[in-house]
């Protein structure tokens, strides 16, 4: 990991911290969008190193956390059908649906495989021609190109027993939903580096302009995060609201053209229910008409009642930055990673789990 060591250099970290202390004249509230950033802030102990009057709020950028109960119920319904193999990213397995989680369905005998790539699911479909293989395609814009590509591959290979259950969510509409909330208290955003590596950051200019909110596309290593925080504070202190790119080693303004084209080939923008937040218009991807035979919702007659979110879980307020995990009465008591009430306690990148794991009784 030599290429990463310079972004973990303790001396550089100290220099940025000093500079952040020097330039900050009033309290600011910043939201890091991505769960990976939250994880890194907590894991590296950065939250404890920042000036007290800088508040970091952890955004909705954890796909595990925002996948709605109904979608979990859908995939469990599919898993329980005869001759169906479900492929899923690992950390979706523990997320509670309204009745059970995928992990529980697996224990009861459903054929659920942890996969690292949807292309493995296509391979699985090829190897199991008598079974239906469904890949649980969750994630932000980051996982969308690979999921789309799996559909294109299956189509090209003439594989008919493969489909995806898409639950993709998009970052810019979520940012707008947060900024447009009347209780909003976010002064600036650290935009998610990986999402922007795919999509670029042109979409952010009108949002920054409309809500007069600075946005800094930021990476995930300690030095990245501190530099991003510093850039955002510099703008705030000067009263600016520009879109800046801290993560230039990975992100270009226009993003990754090929990845975007692949997404466009297979997906169309659709409304999406976010766990804890509710429906945000045009905030997700669904498989388009051209590839509808690869859409599990089209292929199977999924028959489940609409499921309510667990009312005790305040994940919506946490993801909008209105509350911190520790302000939830269930945090660490009735809600723990082994018995999560809501999704932010499940994924290692969920803000509740990150707090629980690393900082429950912070020194």
């Amino acid at each position: 990991m030599k290429h990463l060591s310079e972004y973990r250099d303790p001396e550089l970290v100290q220099q940025y911290l000093k500079e952040i202390h020097r330039i900050t004249t009033k309290p600011w509230t910043l939201m890091e969008i991505c769960g990976g950033q939250t994880h890194s802030l907590v894991k590296n102990g950065i939250l404890e190193m920042l000036p007290e009057f800088i508040t970091m709020v952890h955004g909705p950028g954890c796909p595990v956390c925002v996948t709605s109960v109904s979608v979990i119920d859908e995939v469990i319904w599919l898993a329980e059908q005869p001759n169906v193999i479900i492929g899923s990213f690992g950390d979706m397995l523990r997320v509670p649906g309204s009745r059970k989680s995928l992990l529980e369905a697996k224990a009861e005998g459903a054929d659920i495989r942890i996969l690292y790539s949807p292309l493995e699911a296509v391979k699985l479909a090829k190897e199991n021609p008598t079974k239906e293989v469904v890949f649980f395609a969750v994630g932000f814009e980051t996982t969308a190109p690979a999921n789309a590509l799996s559909v294109v591959h299956a189509h090209q290979m003439g594989i008919t027993n493969y489909s995806i259950l898409a639950s993709h969510v998009l970052v810019p509409p979520a940012m707008e939903a947060i900024l447009g909330d009347e209780e909003n208290m976010i002064d600036a955003f650290l935009a998610a580096g990986h999402v922007c590596a795919i999509m670029g950051f042109e979409e952010y200019f009108p949002i920054a302009e409309k809500y007069k909110t600075p946005m800094v596309v930021t990476g995930f290593e300690p030095v990245d995060l501190l530099q991003g925080i510093m850039m955002a504070i510099m703008q705030l202190e000067k009263g600016e609201y520009k879109v800046e790119n801290q993560y230039a080693r990975s992100v270009q303004r226009e993003g990754n053209r090929m990845a975007k084209e692949t997404i466009k080939e297979v997906f169309e923008v659709s409304d999406r229910v976010w766990r804890g937040i509710g429906e945000i218009p045009l905030s997700g991807y669904e498989v388009n008409e051209k590839y509808k035979q690869f859409n599990a919702r089209n292929k199977f007659n999924i028959d489940i009642p609409f499921a309510e979110e667990n009312k005790e879980c305040i994940s919506g307020d946490i993801m909008k930055g209105l509350k911190k995990p520790k302000q939830c009465p269930n945090f660490g008591t009735t809600c723990k990673p082994e018995h999560p009430l809501g999704a932010p306690m499940v994924s290692s990148e969920g803000s509740c789990a990150a707090y629980y794991q690393y900082a429950q009784n912070i020194i």
């Binding site: 990991m1 030599k2 990463l4 973990r8 250099d9 303790p10 970290v13 100290q14 990976g36 907590v42 894991k43 590296n44 102990g45 950065i46 404890e48 190193m49 796909p63 595990v64 990213f89 690992g90 950390d91 979706m92 397995l93 523990r94 942890i114 690292y116 493995e120 969750v138 994630g139 932000f140 980051t142 996982t143 990986h194 300690p222 723990k336 990673p337 082994e338 994924s347 290692s348 990148e349 629980y356 794991q357 690393y358 900082a359 429950q360 009784n361 912070i362 020194i363």
Partner: protein
């Protein structure tokens, strides 16, 4: 590795009149007899086994250590070893962690019908090699065969007895603030080796399991440093973080480790980053954590590093009066955080 190849040359597979193991091999009848006679007894030959009693009659004196473990790993073959050497080293190490020299082991198989004789033989050969290296005798055992689908190829249970070294005084209640925490080598190799095989991940060079017997080095250290070695534990499932949390809970003291001092192979670290796993929780099979009196820590480290199983050993932290009952890691950039227990299985993340 060379040793294993040599072992296979010395142990050509005997001629069995069957290619796969069937239910009949667990029936206790003729097939069982043939399997044991040709496969097991000849290979593990020793005075105790030769008696062919229902159990082994042993003579031991002094304080004894006794341990058991079941091995259900999947896949049963992985880079650097197979379930066979794992089943020996695991129990041997558990006994060694009590400050004892392991002497005798029992060995039980639960085989899923359909396992090929060739694979079973490869496992037996690794068992033999590991047992010889550890200097233990397999003195009793059992073989059961279950129907297809009722097991996962092969499960092994081993139990072992060892004689506690007269100078050993291993107990968590002897740990005091100021004691040094030592790890005997690079962390997370075993877990990542297994994960890479399960997921079909490929790296520039193969990451191999660290499975090894630690009894010889442990006894040598106890011989030298006696009761100044206060606590020993092998960080297998749950990894280093789980061992430290257990001992923090048992002693009520604080355990502070330094990320910078943690020995880890660059490739393993990269794999952990990629898979979204924390190496502190990843399993090891040939490592031990020692908590020792601070004044001997450097000297012990020197001796440990001279051993084949301690080349990458390091002092990773100290026991403290602060943040009692907790494990704290100082991050590479100087921040501090609590290292808690792992909940459930570590699941690879989405992005």
């Amino acid at each position: 590795m060379n040793e294993k190849i040599k072992m296979q040359l010395h142990c050509p597979m005997p001629k069995f009149d069957f290619e796969v193991i069937t239910l009949g091999h667990g029936s206790g009848g003729l097939l069982t007899h043939r399997l044991l006679q040709t496969g097991v007894f000849d290979l593990f030959k020793n005075d105790h086994l030769d008696q062919q009693h229902d159990g082994a009659i042993l003579e031991l004196s002094g304080k004894l250590a006794f341990s058991t473990d079941s091995y259900v790993i999947s896949p049963i073959f992985f880079p650097g070893g197979n379930i066979g050497d794992l089943a020996i080293n695991g129990t041997v190490n558990d006994i060694a962690m009590c400050g004892a020299t392991p002497k005798y082991l029992s060995l039980s198989f639960i085989i899923e019908e359909g396992l090929t004789m060739k694979k079973f033989w490869e496992v037996l050969v690794n068992i033999k090699t590991a047992a010889d290296k550890a200097g233990i005798a397999i003195v009793t055992g059992d073989t059961k065969v279950v129907e297809k689908g009722k097991g996962d190829k092969l499960f092994i249970n081993t139990s072992g007895i060892g004689v506690v070294h007269p100078k050993a005084a291993i107990h968590h209640n002897r740990i005091q603030a100021g004691d040094a925490i030592i790890i005997s080598g690079n962390i997370a190799n075993h877990g990542i080796a297994i994960m890479s095989r399960r997921q079909g991940l490929e790296f520039e060079t193969t990451i191999e399991t660290d499975s090894a017997n630690l009894n010889h080095i442990i006894i040598a250290l106890i011989e030298q440093f006696g009761s100044d070695i206060k606590f020993l534990r092998d960080p297998t499932r749950g990894g280093l973080a789980s061992v430290l949390n257990e001992v923090a809970e048992l002693t009520g003291l604080g355990y502070e480790i330094n990320q910078k001092q943690l020995p880890i192979d660059a490739q393993v670290e990269g794999a952990c980053e990629m898979l979204g796993l924390d190496p502190l929780y990843v399993a090891n099979e040939g490592l031990f954590v020692a908590i020792v009196k601070q004044s001997i820590a450097e000297k012990l480290l020197e001796q440990l590093k001279a051993d084949e199983n301690g080349v990458n050993a390091a002092i990773i932290g100290y026991v403290t009066e602060e943040h009692r009952g907790k494990v704290v890691i100082k991050s590479a950039i100087g921040g501090k955080r609590i290292v808690g227990y792992l909940t459930g299985e570590q699941l690879p993340r989405i992005c």
